[in-house]
């Protein structure tokens, strides 16, 4: 008798709204207010992202990671969260931060190279941005474990991308989550491109969701451009976590319509046809059609949102650009609860050398050229 070796089966994708805004799944029980909120946050996030890109091109902002096309994944996930849940983010989640109550001015400030933009408002249960890919995933498990030990309400949601699923921290985090059976939701924004590396070069699995099975908990595969499907899947996973039934991996299949970061040029590695195809699946477009069919979305309401977004964005830009300059102390503060003498000495040295500075480096030419 031979042993048959076969590839595992992959789960089907859950969809509620298709790309044209048609209902193809079970409509969630949501009130008009929540639906409107969702649309607002998606729209606001897109506009805020557009503005950031403009400012980066004008030299008013540093490198940042645009979110265009991923609004449904981000807002669907965060609207499903409760206030006492914790968010453990990566770095491409502007929509989620905004919905969770981190002001746009803070987000802008951070990408303007100002670490004060990382400050989380009082009462918002978020960790700050984590840039090294996947490294935040075990932290989410640790938070969830502590919640469980302390008997607190709530769950933890950690967000990462498809590239993160190749890193050791992803696998270690999921394995710990399963073994400890803690209230955590692993939320993968699968935008199908890790800079220039497409999903099929990232993993031989047909889906990311199925990786959950190896760790002993469910994986759910949803259309990440369908805000209703993302919301339903995340809400279900969070509820399961809060009930003590352990982790879930949610894979939201979406697409990065923009560049990896503003330092990237996606035309080098992907086709216009693919981009056009995904523009057709735009998450905002399909949700607007759905809301219009329900009589919720109107031209007039849209105009109101445009005005409101513009006002908020203008205010955020002004606030971020007019913040007072850093003091030297800020580079040395917050290293430890108390500053060691050695560090204080370094700080005093820098303050003194800035006060007494006489040579501006940019103005020094090397006479003979650099040897």
């Amino acid at each position: 008798m031979g042993i048959e070796l076969e590839k595992p089966e992959s789960p089907d994708m859950i969809q509620i709204l298709d790309k044209d805004g048609e209902l193809v799944g079970e409509e969630p029980d949501m009130d008009e207010e929540t639906l409107k909120e969702m649309y607002w946050w998606m729209f606001y996030a897109r506009k805020a992202d557009e503005k950031a890109l403009k400012m980066q091109r004008q030299g008013r902002m540093g490198t940042f990671a645009p979110i265009e096309g991923q609004e449904a994944a981000q807002i669907g996930a965060s609207v499903a969260m409760k206030d006492d849940d914790w968010l453990v983010p990566a770095f491409r989640e502007l929509g989620t931060y905004l919905e969770r109550g981190v002001g746009l001015e803070k987000n802008y400030q951070y990408f303007m190279g100002d670490v004060r933009g990382n400050e989380i408002p009082e009462g918002v249960n978020n960790l700050p941005i984590a840039v090294p890919v996947s490294t935040q995933i075990p932290h989410a498990v640790g938070l969830a474990w502590a919640m469980k030990i302390k008997g607190d309400e709530g769950a933890v949601l950690t967000i990462f991308g498809d590239g993160a699923t190749s890193e050791g921290d992803f696998h270690e985090g999921l394995n710990f989550g399963g073994v400890l059976n803690v209230p955590v939701v692993f939320f993968c924004q699968n935008n199908q491109w890790a800079i220039s590396v497409p999903l099929e070069k990232q993993t031989a699995s047909d889906t990311i969701a199925q990786k959950a099975h190896a760790y002993g908990f469910p994986g759910v595969y949803v259309d990440g451009n369908d805000v209703l499907a993302v919301y339903e899947a995340t809400k279900t996973a969070l509820k399961r976590a809060r009930e003590g039934k352990g982790p879930t991996l949610v894979e939201a299949l979406t697409y990065r319509l923009s560049m990896h970061t503003t330092a990237d040029d996606p035309t080098r590695y992907r086709s216009q046809e693919e981009l056009d195809e995904w523009k057709e699946k735009d998450p905002l477009k399909r949700f607007r059609i759905y809301l219009k069919d329900k009589g919720i979305w109107t031209e007039r309401w849209q105009e109101e949102l445009e005005k409101k977004a513009k006002k908020k964005i203008d205010e955020a830009v002004k606030a971020a650009e007019s913040i007072e300059e850093h003091s030297v102390e800020e580079m040395f503060e917050h290293m430890f609860s108390e500053m060691p003498k050695d560090m204080r000495d370094q700080m005093e040295y820098l303050k003194r050398s800035l006060e007494e500075k006489e040579i501006e480096e940019e103005q020094v030419e090397i006479k003979e050229g650099f040897p």
């Binding site: 540093g62 490198t63 940042f64 770095f91 951070y110 303007m112 190279g113 100002d114 670490v115 941005i129 840039v131 090294p132 890919v133 590239g163 993160a164 190749s166 890193e167 050791g168 921290d169 890790a194 800079i195 220039s196 590396v197 070069k201 990232q202 993993t203 970061t261 330092a263 990237d264 080098r268 590695y269 300059e325 850093h326 030297v328 800020e330 580079m331 040395f332 290293m335 050695d342 560090m343 370094q346 700080m347 820098l350 050398s353 800035l354 007494e356 500075k357 006489e358 040579i359 501006e360 480096e361 020094v364 090397i366 006479k367 050229g369 650099f370 040897p371």
Partner: protein
Amino acid sequence: MTEMNMVGAINDALHLEMERDDDVMVLGEDVGVNEGVFRITEGLLDKFGEDRVRDTPLAESGIVGVSIGLALYGMKPVAEVQFMGFMWPAVDQLSSHASRYRNRSRGQYNVPMVLRAPYGGGVKALEHHSESFESVLAHIPGLKVVIPSTPKDAKGLLISSIRDPDPVVFLEPKKLYRAFKQDVSEEIFTEELGKARVVQEGEDITLVGWGAMVPKMVKAADHVSGEGISAEVIDLRTIYPYDEETVHESLRKTGRLLVVQEAPRTLGFGSEVVSRAVKKEMLSMKSPPMRATGFDVPFPLYKMEDWAIPDVDRIVKKIREAIGW
């Protein structure tokens, strides 16, 4: 001769070595289709194909671990970690294995691999994109750590690193990638690993540095020459093995030492340079050895980055302090 910047020179070295030796291959994130986020690997995929130029999954430990296996089986992998700040997961593979196979197997196995990574600050990057922890790598027994500061050295040193039978970490100061061009031979040539370069000769003080600090030292030396101070500038080029002879020979002439290092102060490679100088050249010294360094803080976001890196002003002040001792 062709004018090249450092990106072009590294690219040229890779092309030449891959043409010369079929065992040389390149792997890492975005090194193939995208030709590297800094375009270091331009033209390689087209010329050599996917077996030898491979876009890998996003996993630094995997990239280095797999490279060790490739090298053990006779390939000569040139792996890339996209930014030094993301190298930490790979440090396990470097310190637990790449650096030890030769020793562990009593010389039966060796790991002829190169790990390239851009490092250092000054380009307004995001968090974790500006680190300089070269001293951590030099601290791992069994690794060579090479850091060029010119296009010509980058080409010659990379070719030598690829041909070296042992693991070499090749750190590229990204601030200098496109900072200037230099005439570089189109031919294959090598620069010996473990040899410092005297960039300019001087009589009164020896400035020692590497990577992006080298042009700053030259600027500072230029500046103090107007004050009648003659500074010798040494670019270490390889921090391990450390070329003590070249530095100490200079110290016997100048009697003064200033090490310039971008990395945080505590236990940077400057500490090693100073320690060796004190041990062997104490009687030549006219002033205590000095350092101009970064600070013991994480490399800051870009609004504060100019403070974090030693500048010409701070280097000049340290030179004056040493001279006036």
